[in-house]
Symmetry: C2
Subunit: 457 residues, 2 copies
């Protein structure tokens, strides 16, 4: 067996039944909230043309794209002698398709291809795997599911407020407590950059302060110095990053400090989003205005979000924000939108660690019938049919194996109830019902089986 033992590619996972059930439970809850807020499901293919994917994720991203070898005699149509090629020059000639790297570029591609049929605003959610040829490490996979929700075609701040409410509802639906939704505005950061005397350095400023949590203020200063920020700028930055107090206090204080128009617009938008949330009956107790929230991506232009656990057990479990130009790269400028992405693997881990998954899922088999062989089947088979008819997830052990083996199989498959009908039971028209958790066993009339099981499960 050892010589042809099959393997699975590094960085990929199989999901056993118990895991799939839990992931489905989690995703169903999220889907329910998405649709309650009017988001509609979209699915795009795993394979995209490399012309669509390349150049969208920076040079690093391009290297991480999985490329698919063209079919057939792919070397037949090379422009030059094979010997003259390097890996880099050969790839575009032998691979025209690649695997989806994220859900945003395929979404933009879809929007542009369907621009005549779509009536904006368009609210879509998308839950699908993506692939990245990254170095696998703990918690980082080469194939993983992304979960995005976006509204495009409107710049109304109502959407930002709805996203806050949606994040709250998702956390509630999943049972996750002890989190905060950090909120900031890229406009405020642009204003901050101006206030620091470097209006042209908003990008490097965002990249640096995005690391504040991880590396601390001293190292953020070092990085900013390298980017050409002077000491006066750093002195001005400190009270902004150190700011404390309620959301209201922070908005007030910064309003006095950062008086330029960009900063004022950013502050006003943050305030308005919170106001709308309250008007919708939403709860601001988890919302924290954080002027140091920057989000790495250059892509964002307005309000930005991040969901963090207060116990600091892991990085952010969701992030997003407003962008002004989803489809510009495909020739359709000025499509504004706002969206979030949920970190499914991290959320799964939180729920697993905190025991938030229900003990049995809607997929777990509820009842096993013991198999005592041929003669016994005439008694047991109608029962199996009735239980399923009643919607109870039931199996009959398919072989006449030893009782111990059958019970152990039920145990390993987390089946909570077992029905035993030996010759005594058959003679008395009864069945023994065994609770696999407590070990308790009771004898019930065969005609009461369905009702009894419905009561106890």
């Amino acid at each position: 067996m050892s010589n042809n033992k099959p393997t699975r590619p590094k960085g990929t996972r199989d999901f056993a039944p118990a895991e799939v059930s839990k992931r489905q439970y989690m995703l169903d809850k999220i889907r329910q909230v998405f649709t309650k807020f009017g988001f509609q499901p979209l699915e795009t293919p795993a394979m995209e043309n490399l012309s669509v994917l390349t150049g969208k994720y920076g040079d690093e991203g391009d290297k991480l794209l999985y490329k698919i070898l063209n079919s057939g005699d792919y070397l037949a149509h090379l422009k030059h002698d094979l010997a003259s090629y390097t890996s880099q020059t050969l790839t575009p000639e032998i691979a025209e398709k690649g695997l989806r790297y994220d859900l945003t570029v395929p979404f933009a591609r879809y929007v542009v291809m369907n621009r005549h049929e779509l009536t904006l605003p368009f609210r879509r959610y998308q839950i699908q795997p993506v692939w990245r040829a990254d170095r696998p490490q703990k918690g980082r996979y080469r194939e993983f599911v992304q979960c995005d929700a976006d509204v495009i075609g409107t710049d109304s701040l109502l959407c930002e407020a709805e996203i806050i409410m949606m994040l709250n509802e998702i956390m509630t639906a999943l049972g996750i407590e002890g989190y905060e939704i950090a909120l900031n505005s890229r406009k405020l950061l642009a204003g901050l950059s101006q206030y620091l005397g470097h209006p042209d350095k908003e990008g490097p400023l965002c990249v640096a302060i995005d690391k504040l949590d991880k590396i601390g203020q001293a190292k953020v200063h070092d990085e900013l110095r390298q980017q050409g920020f002077d000491e006066q700028a750093l002195t001005r930055l400190t009270p902004v990053l150190d700011i404390q107090g309620s959301n209201h206090d922070k908005l007030q204080a910064l309003g006095k400090l950062l008086t330029n128009e960009k900063a004022q617009t950013g502050l006003r938008e943050v305030e308005e989003v919170m106001q709308i949330t309250e008007n919708m009956g939403g709860d601001l107790q988890h919302v924290s205005f954080d002027p140091a929230l920057a989000r790495g991506l250059s892509y964002y232009t307005g309000i930005i979000f991040e969901v963090r656990l207060l116990d600091g057990s892991m990085g952010s479990i969701s992030g997003g924000g407003r962008y002004d130009n989803l489809t510009g790269v495909f020739g359709w400028p000025d499509v504004s939108g706002v969206g979030i992405s949920l970190g499914i693997d991290r959320i799964y881990d939180v729920m697993q660690n905190r025991g938030l998954f229900p003990a049995t899922s809607s997929q777990t088999t509820q009842v096993m019938l013991v198999n005592f062989g041929e003669e016994n089947l005439a008694y047991v088979l109608p029962l199996l049919g009735q239980l399923r008819q009643a919607g109870i997830r039931t199996v009959l052990y398919p072989d006449n194996a030893k009782m111990k083996k059958q019970l152990s199989w039920a145990n390993k498959n987390d089946i909570p109830l077992v029905l035993i009908a030996g010759s005594d039971e058959v003679n008395n028209r009864t069945v023994s019902l065994k609770n696999m958790k407590t070990g308790e066993q009771q004898i019930i009339p065969v005609d009461d089986v369905v009702t009894t099981i419905k009561q106890v499960s």
Copy 2:
């Protein structure tokens, strides 16, 4: 825009929200039946090592595998000069992974890799996309979803009977009428081959009679002649293929004709499977014993199934059977199992053509609130919050656009109900509820909105 207009790879599809909702409705129904019968969900990665995939689908299949280019400088470690390679010899050196071609080989790989943890029998279902570099044509895609359910680790005929019941329940759950479940046994076909005087030609016999529906008996004869069957054999075959009558009649008649042991075993198994189905309270009205059912794959060794529509509008919508050796190719022999595969795309088409999808799905947005701008929001936002609180899928149009534009958006998004609160309504603390299908409009007190909407949707 035209110069960088994005495209989608040939043979792939985007699924718009309405389609995703319908597909999810269909798959949820199927999943519910699977789990009722004790099948548990498994998921494997899209990427598999080519060492696992290659050689499992014949030479033709190998050509249809999508291969993924190795990352980085993949030409750096070639054994020979680049110039000396052909497409065929280069591929194994530059691609070590490929995309899943079906769900059976990954399942076998999973079973072998987890053989110490799995307690057989193992019932798994798997609903995931597969990829084939086939020539795209109507109804044939390069990326499509397969839907398989298998029980492995037991040779009990109970499993075959359960599959018949499961197929019936799936058809009922989806609302598909006018179908038959054709049933036969590969053992009977082996016996038939022996009866025809060619015990070594079971394979070619199966391949030929599998085409009976498409090409007719004369051409089947031609094909069999080419395979070396003599005229006496063809004369003996005719009454078998022509057989008519009830399942009972056909079993009786063939029992007298085909007296060899293999044929008798096959007939007995078909009979037993039908008997067990009846004992479970199952319905045989859709089950048709069809001695000409062969299924192309050489893989099957026992009972085989096929689900067909009686109106002949398309090929089979499901097929499957028993096999004796799932994992032999990975060094673990004698793992027997029985399974079925559902043709999701075909089933979707049947349901679409027959109007079997509900008008609104569990994802369709139920209510749109009209947006009359800033001042009006104080009235409308709490309503939005309350409706969602009550679990009603609701959107507020995000911008203060013209009423006509907002209503047309609701229409295009199939939203059945619209709430309008202009200044009159605000003054009277009412709301107008417009039914988008009938055009009817009624005025209701603002406090009754949630209850009224719950009644009408």
